[in-house]
Amino acid sequence: MEFFDNLLDETHTTVRDMARRFAEEHIRPHAEAWEESGTFPRELYPKAAEAGILSIGVPEQAGGSGGGALHQVMVIEGLMRGTSAGVVAGLGSLGIGLPAVWQTERADLIDRYVRPCLTGERISCLAITEPGTGSDVAGVRTKAVRDGSDWVVSGSKMFITSGVRADFITTLVRTGDDPHGGLSFLLIEADRPGVSVSRALRKTGWWASDTAELSFDAVRVPEGNLLGEEGEGFLTLMRNFQLERLALAAYGVATAQIALDEAMAYTKQRKAFGRSLSRFQITKHKLAEMATAVLTARTLTYQVAHRMDAGDYLIGEVSMAKNVAAKTAIDVCYDAVQLLGGMGYMRESVVERLSRDARLLPIGGGTQEIMREIIAKEMGL
């Protein structure tokens, strides 16, 4: 019996188990080495594709396997068993890089860009944030100006997951003066003259995922690379943010669950004052609190995903799930490190890595403060 039997059918549990098997076979044995080296082999993409993992959540018409938000949550939870959020984020950058492409329903773009990402041959990324603007998307300054049948793009983008080795960049650019209505999405191939990686960024966590600052210096992009209509960029972004935020909630749930499991295992075998740490009341209560927090975050995340799959357009609830799961991940990781003591502070322990990785969750995909603004707005405040 699954506790979430009412939400998860066997397609969900099977997807979760397959992703977990993939993580245990292909990620976990290398997690420490890849984290320390700051990357993971490109061959992991076709392997994940072969296992059917990359195409989940992409409609069958666009070459994907179908499946909904809850299936994507399952994939993240399964893959996180590899204990490297960085690898999951790197493999998963197509989850944010591709929607704006396949949503155009254009066969030429789907064949040339979407399908090769689903087979793991190409890597995509999404570029929104800039050195000068983050949460305030209306402040995007990277400019695309029409010149004959081309767009000419100039500007820079910041904190781009998979940006160092992506083959193309789904880029939010300014094509007009209106703060929101003047934004559009352009697909920019990374090998176009003028595109460069200014630097690979060093981060607190997610070490195995490359993160880039990108520069566009008068890059000529054919007009056919405009994704959707001119001026639709902000709407596309807002629509796709919901799934990105749900995915980050799933990272939070998975991170907290693994930290709890690690703390359980450690406190059972570690002895102090003649008995296992887990037999001290203070430990038991701490673990009980951690388990309660994990179940709370998971329940909200699954329920939101389930309602999204049922067709509800949730804004406030997704933001709530992201905030709850992010906070849960940070708190549970903090407690897990504490329970492991000195070992929890060592690079060789999984909870040390998880506690660093968790710090991203209240920041990426919209900060917890922006989430609260959205929730308050939905409350009519």
Partner: protein
């Protein structure tokens, strides 16, 4: 070629097994397709991919076995699942299970049978051999390599000392599969979706021409016990030389491994 695969649902190999009375505590156990049966399913699916035909799964068990077999069998290429379920089979021994499987396989008209070399819970390795005997077919056990042209086969077995034995013959036959034969594929979402709609054929003993008396156990499990708890490790003290000397002494006289 129509291939039958005998598959059993067993506890996940990572499950914590606790003996309770004459069985195990099933609370919290995740049930999966027996890992050796997963090799059997994969080999059958590969064979029909190369030579045409279909793969049909056969199991004995109540309704709880259906979901794991959908995920681990129907979602990776099995066409349908025959679930033999009858109150008289609840206490069946290996021979009872084999009789039920053989009767059902025969009625289905399969031309070859694959099974795991053993189940990771019971580990008796008896059922496939009994099925072969009941069908009157040859058995090739613990197979790590398999080829067929559709009417004859060549199977590889690793026997003691790393020696490889090659067995050739004509179909039909029963094969039990070992680790190393193949790598079971991942179930992919579209196939998982399709597996939800694949047919589960439920049979009781009467449907396959057997009675409760036919499967009445000739052997019963009388006792289960857990392995003795491992004694705590011992720390040696003294200088490095003293510790090394003591260690050799203990390995020779106490552990008797030297």
């Amino acid at each position: 070629m129509k291939i039958g695969v005998c598959a059993k649902v067993t506890p996940d190999t990572g499950a914590q097994i606790k003996v309770v009375g004459n069985g195990i505590d099933t609370a919290g156990i995740k049930w999966v397709v027996n890992p050796y049966d997963a090799y059997a399913i994969e080999e059958a699916v590969k064979t029909v991919e190369n030579h045409g035909g279909s793969v049909h799964l056969f199991t004995v068990g109540d309704d709880s076995v259906v979901a794991p077999l959908r995920a681990g069998g129907l979602a990776v290429g099995g066409e349908d699942l025959t679930q033999i379920s009858d109150a008289a089979l609840n206490d069946a021994d290996s021979l009872g299970v084999a009789k039920a499987l053989a009767a059902s396989l025969k009625a289905a008209g399969v031309e070859a049978v694959f099974a795991g070399k053993e189940s990771v819970d019971g580990v008796s390795s008896q059922v496939p051999a009994m099925v072969a005997e009941l069908l009157g077919w040859p058995l090739v056990s613990i197979v790590t390599g398999f080829e067929t042209d559709g009417s004859t086969f060549k199977a590889t077995r690793e026997i003691g000392g790393g020696v490889v034995e090659v067995v050739s013959g004509s179909l039909p036959a029963v094969f039990t599969c070992d680790k190393g034969l193949n790598t079971p594929r991942y179930a992919k979402l579209p196939q998982i979706m399709k597996a939800k709609r694949k047919k589960v054929i439920k049979q009781d003993l009467a449907a396959i021409g057997l009675s409760a008396a036919d499967v009445a156990p000739k052997a019963t499990e009388s006792n289960f016990s857990e392995p003795a708890a491992r004694p705590a490790g011992r720390m040696l003290s003294g200088s490095v030389q003293e510790q090394a000397k003591e260690l050799v002494h203990l390995l020779r006289n106490e552990a008797k491994v030297l």
